[in-house]
């Protein structure tokens, strides 16, 4: 089973993108960061009590599924959209969603386009082998608009092609758009159109058939969401563990019961996740929040209690 393998080799092999700021991106010293990276780090914290026992494999969109299928990586955490076909026939299991996204369009401001419906006849750049490619096709077909697709092998090159003026429009998930816009030389000269043309639930993916591993990855995220809901953060978790009397919280941080055992983990697994990586809100703010270069609002990715859709099953 994957868990045993991972424990035996001492680290998690995590498949990430080749560089989307805020989601998974390596800095000039080779240190990876981003929401997708933190997903892997949280799992590592749950298993090893140390968030840094992760090795990263940068993958282009077209390599990613094969890499996971073949066992090259243990978790694919690389803004991958959860779709029916992928879940059902690729030999993959989507765990849960850590980022609710939707596809959008980015254009140059001086083009004078305000709405996606004005894009008839435009040239559109996107990355090869993604749902984006299909959504784009569906969108233009649905509205019987003409377009010229320029499908580039890697996201980076697709962005380059857009930047060099090969295309009028760059399309990908809106989070990606924001991240990519931050990479452009003059971000303010580009705008993201208001429409969202698809649902893009993004989350970590694991191989089909290993339920234990799937549960670990799934519940790692649920722990982070629950922690935010309960107000537990990396800052106060130690204090809370020592002082809290709320049985729900005590169960979560491992002060009571042996919740980790069912997953094959230690009882402080959730504690470690929160201590090492933080709760969901922390992860979001740190990587893509308004104060970062990417600058995304919390929006739909907020707790259900705050008007978002994040709703994690209780840990009990």
């Amino acid at each position: 089973a994957t868990l045993d393998d991972v424990k035996a080799k001492g680290f998690i092999q995590c498949g990430v993108s080749t560089g989307v700021p805020g989601f998974s991106n390596a800095d000039s010293t080779g240190k990876w960061s981003g929401i997708d990276v933190d997903a892997c780090r949280a799992v590592s914290a749950a298993i090893f009590g140390d968030a840094d026992k992760v090795k990263y494999t940068p993958l282009s969109a077209k390599e990613r599924f094969t890499a996971l299928q073949s066992g090259e990586i243990d978790i694919l955490s690389r803004n991958t959209t959860w779709t029916y076909t992928r879940d059902a026939s690729l030999g993959l299991d989507f765990t849960t969603t850590n980022f609710y996204d939707g596809q959008g369009f980015m254009v140059r401001k001086d083009l004078g386009v305000e709405k996606a419906m004005e894009l008839d006849g435009a040239t559109v750049c996107t990355e090869q082998g993604t749902t984006t490619e299909l959504n784009m096709a569906d969108f233009f077909r649905k509205h019987s608009m003409d377009y010229v697709p320029v499908v580039v092998q890697k996201a980076d090159e697709a962005l380059s092609a857009y930047a060099s003026g090969r295309c009028d429009v760059y399309t990908t998930d809106k989070s990606g758009l924001a991240a990519h816009r931050s990479k452009l030389s003059d971000p303010s000269a580009h705008m993201i159109l208001p429409e969202t043309i698809s649902k893009e639930p993004l989350g970590p993916v694991v191989r089909h058939g290993d339920n234990q591993w799937k549960d670990i990855v799934t519940w790692t995220l649920f722990v982070q969401i629950n922690a935010e809901e309960m107000g537990i953060s990396s800052e106060n978790v130690a204090k809370i563990k020592a002082e809290s009397t709320d049985p729900g919280i005590r169960r979560l941080v491992g002060a009571e019961g042996k919740m980790g055992e069912a997953l094959g983990l230690g009882s402080d697994w959730a504690y470690n996740i929160i201590a090492e990586v933080g709760n969901y809100g922390e992860v979001f703010e740190r990587n893509v929040g308004p104060d970062t270069r990417v600058g995304l609002p919390r929006g739909v990715n907020n707790l259900w209690t705050e008007g978002g859709v994040l709703y994690a099953p209780p840990v009990r």
Binding site: L59, A67, S70, D156, S160
Partner: protein
């Protein structure tokens, strides 16, 4: 009675036959077509050279923090300067650069030692081919003697390019020899296995092989058995160029006269003795140009690892040009990469010519 013969003195040629004027006339203006070609060539030079010189030198900017520093309108070499370390070493930790440098110096020293007569070439070769790789591996990867472990995923830049090239070259040669011998074997199964392998590999693009190596091999291995991606890519590259190498070497083997095989047989040498002592030394020497061409091809082909998500020199440059601070420096990046690859490949081909000449005077003098 015999008239004495004194050869008339040699006169200098008429001025229109030699010297700069004659040279110019003969090379540039000897016929209408020639005149046209000359004018046309000068026009092309005029189109290409001044703007290039202006862009690359006169108007270039050599230092700066980001693209905004490059205001002169020429090349923005500041970008290369800023990213130079990454282009050379990839994401290898800065504090550990000395390990790569040390390995490079060691290799240069070892190769330089070939020039010294007193050293036994066999021992030296063993050192270069067996001891050195082990030492270099531990230097690069670390993990012993208190060296910090450096993940292969951090290896990149020119370092990775060189590593892929050198390992591919060193490993594909012996494999190519074996395949070539196999293809010329008179054992039908050995022969067909080699033929099928060589022809299949030669028929498909390197990309497919790299793709297989980088993501598909694990599908063919039992659960849990897996090995490093860099290693898999190396194996892919090696197999690929071994197939080409085999064909080159086969050409050399075919050029050795049958008499040499027979003489070796008649002297009682075994198959492997006669190959190693008699046939291969001659065959390999014959095909040095072909071997070097394969090396150069291999070295250039290492750029394809970029497509399977490894960051060699080209990959590093390509991703650096996406840095928001340096957007629009694509041309500089490509020019730099082009120059490095060119210098190495061109150097290799010239070096091989020199080696060939040297071996030539050494052995065949008829």
């Amino acid at each position: 009675m015999a008239i004495e013969f004194k050869p008339s003195p040699s006169l200098p040629p008429p001025s229109n036959a030699v010297g700069a004027v004659a040279w110019v006339r003969k090379n540039f203006f000897s016929s209408p077509l020639n005149i046209f070609l000359t004018v046309f060539s000068f026009y092309i030079l005029y189109l290409l050279v001044p703007p290039t010189v202006e862009w690359a030198f006169l108007d270039a900017t050599w230092s700066g923090e980001n693209k905004d520093a490059c205001t002169a309108g020429g090349a923005c070499w500041a970008f290369i300067v800023a990213y130079f370390d990454q282009f050379m070493y990839g994401l290898y930790p800065q504090t550990e650069y000395w390990r790569i440098n040390l390995a490079a110096i060691l290799l240069a020293l070892l190769i330089g030692m070939y020039a010294i007569k007193a050293i036994n070439k066999l021992i030296l070769s063993i050192a270069v081919l067996i001891v050195y790789p082990v030492v270099a591996y531990f230097l690069f990867a670390g993990g012993i003697l208190g060296l910090e472990v450096v993940e292969t995923s951090l290896w990149g830049g020119l370092f990775l390019t060189t590593l892929l090239g050198v390992v591919g070259i060193v490993a594909s040669l012996p494999l190519g020899v074996v395949l070539a011998l196999g293809r010329r074997s008179n054992m039908p199964i050995v022969k067909s296995v080699c033929v099928v392998f060589i022809e299949t590999v030669r028929a498909v693009p390197l990309i497919t092989i790299l793709f297989m190596a980088s993501v598909m091999i694990p599908l063919f291995l039992p659960d849990g058995l897996n090995f490093n991606k860099l290693l898999r890519v190396l194996i892919g590259i090696t197999l690929f160029s071994a197939a080409y190498m085999a064909e080159v070497i086969r050409g050399g083997l075919q050029a050795i006269p049958k008499g040499q095989y027979e003489a070796a047989d008649a002297m009682g040498l075994t198959y492997w003795q006669s190959m190693l002592l008699v046939i291969l030394p001659q065959a390999l020497k014959l095909v040095i140009p072909g071997i070097v061409n394969t090396f150069i091809g291999l070295f250039k082909d290492t750029t394809l690892v970029y497509i399977v998500g490894m960051f060699d020199l080209l990959g590093r440059i390509q991703s650096a040009t996406h840095d928001g601070d340096w957007l629009g420096t694509t041309t500089e990046g490509y020019a730099f990469a082009g120059f490095i690859y060119w210098a190495i490949c061109f150097g290799m081909s010239r070096y091989s010519m020199a080696v060939e000449r040297k071996l030539d005077t050494g052995h065949k003098r008829n």
